[in-house]
Amino acid sequence: MDSTPLFDIAAGTTKYVTLNVNVPRQLDEDNYWLRVRVLDKNTPALELTVPLAVEPSRNGLSLADVSFSPGLSVKAGRSLLTTVLLENFGKRDQNDVKVTVSVPELGASVVEYVDVDASPDKVDYEDVPEMFLAIPATAQPGDYEVKVTAEFDHYDSTSKSFTLHVLPSDLFPVPGVGPAPEAKVVLAVGPESQNVAAGKTATYAVALSNEGSASKAFSVEAVTGDWATAKVSDSLVVLDAGKSKVVYVDVTAAKDAAPGEHMVSLTVKSGDDVLATETLTATVLGTPAGPAGVGLRNGLEIALIILVVLLVIIGLIIGFSRMKKDNGEGQTYY
């Protein structure tokens, strides 16, 4: 059935209208009437009749049903499972019907061939084997046309179109689209505990690994108390996904730092988010350095060495003196 919208006709004029009427496939092979009616608000309808002799199709095939799994929203990199039901309403068998499911914009398609027999009961149906259409992982999110086409009898074809909504891929996230990729960083410090003399510097090597799925900028901060100052070689590190970098943390103990174990807190952030923390340990040695930079122990060692040297010199002098004396006494006897 088809009908026109409302319109007016001016006096003494002719108005042409066009209607398109589909001859339903449910009709029997018989005579029917096509009725054309002209209607207005409140007067009897004007009608004309065109007799039709309906014949069955020689080659008649249609897409009776098309369904998609998981639906018409699918993530890039996943597959779209398509199930097609074909209807043969013609008089002849249809062999090697080519059924194609495609997303032309993505260059993706899948094909199946199937035979659909004609039925004496006028209509026969045939399930096409399930078709998996792979959506490329690099497909941009958005709406795409999915076209299902059945080609038969060499020249004929029938098709239906649907709109497929492609969601962002898990593997190739698009910046600004979908949920932000989770940032993840792994720290490795070696060694975590070091000894340091007051006024001296201990250096800690810290390896940062970006275990997230996207490139990230990380800020590295080291916090000490009054006992020391800390300096990071690279306070801002940009790492691609899966990449690593080593930064160095120099901890300089104050000259008056109390001996014993002290802590250095290391924090790695991405923006305002704290991703990882690590505690470094520095043991300040018990004897602080003297003003000249020489310790008591070192002083005693030097004094001992000087004493030994003096003793050796005195011994040599005494030895040489005795040798001289012995030589003089021998000449007197002759």
Binding site: M1, D2, S3, T4, P5, L6, F7, D8, I9, A10, A11, G12, T13, T14, K15, Y16, V17, T18, L19, N20, V21, N22, V23, P24, R25, Q26, L27, D28, N31, Y32, W33, L34, R35, V36, R37, V38, L39, D40, K41, N42, T43, P44, L46, L48, T49, V50, P51, L52, A53, V54, E55, P56, S57, R58, G60, S62, F89
Partner: protein, 87 residues
């Protein structure tokens, strides 16, 4: 009996008057009918045609309408009926 005939005549005259009034109100007639681009002789003409069509086929019907004294809020519909699921 004569009285009955007279009553029937009066009824016929009233009915005719109503029909004429209706035709006057619509003032419409078909000027031409084409199916799939061809002029056809419809039912009511001297030699009505029977058109052979295939099921599943789409028929284009083009009609020309004339309103002698004008018409408003007119619509045209075309339909094949008398089969299952025709609503």
């Amino acid at each position: 009996m004569k009285r009955l005939q007279g009553l029937a005549l009066v009824m016929l005259m009233i009915l005719s008057a109503v029909m004429v009034s209706a035709l006057d109100a619509t003032n419409l007639r078909f000027d031409s009918v084409r199916v799939n681009g061809d002029f056809v002789n419809v039912v009511g003409t001297a030699t009505p045609e029977v058109l052979a069509v295939e099921e599943g086929q789409t028929i284009e019907v083009r009609v020309g309408l004339v309103a002698v004294s004008g018409a408003s809020n007119v619509e045209v519909e075309a339909k094949v009926g008398g089969f299952e699921y025709s609503k």
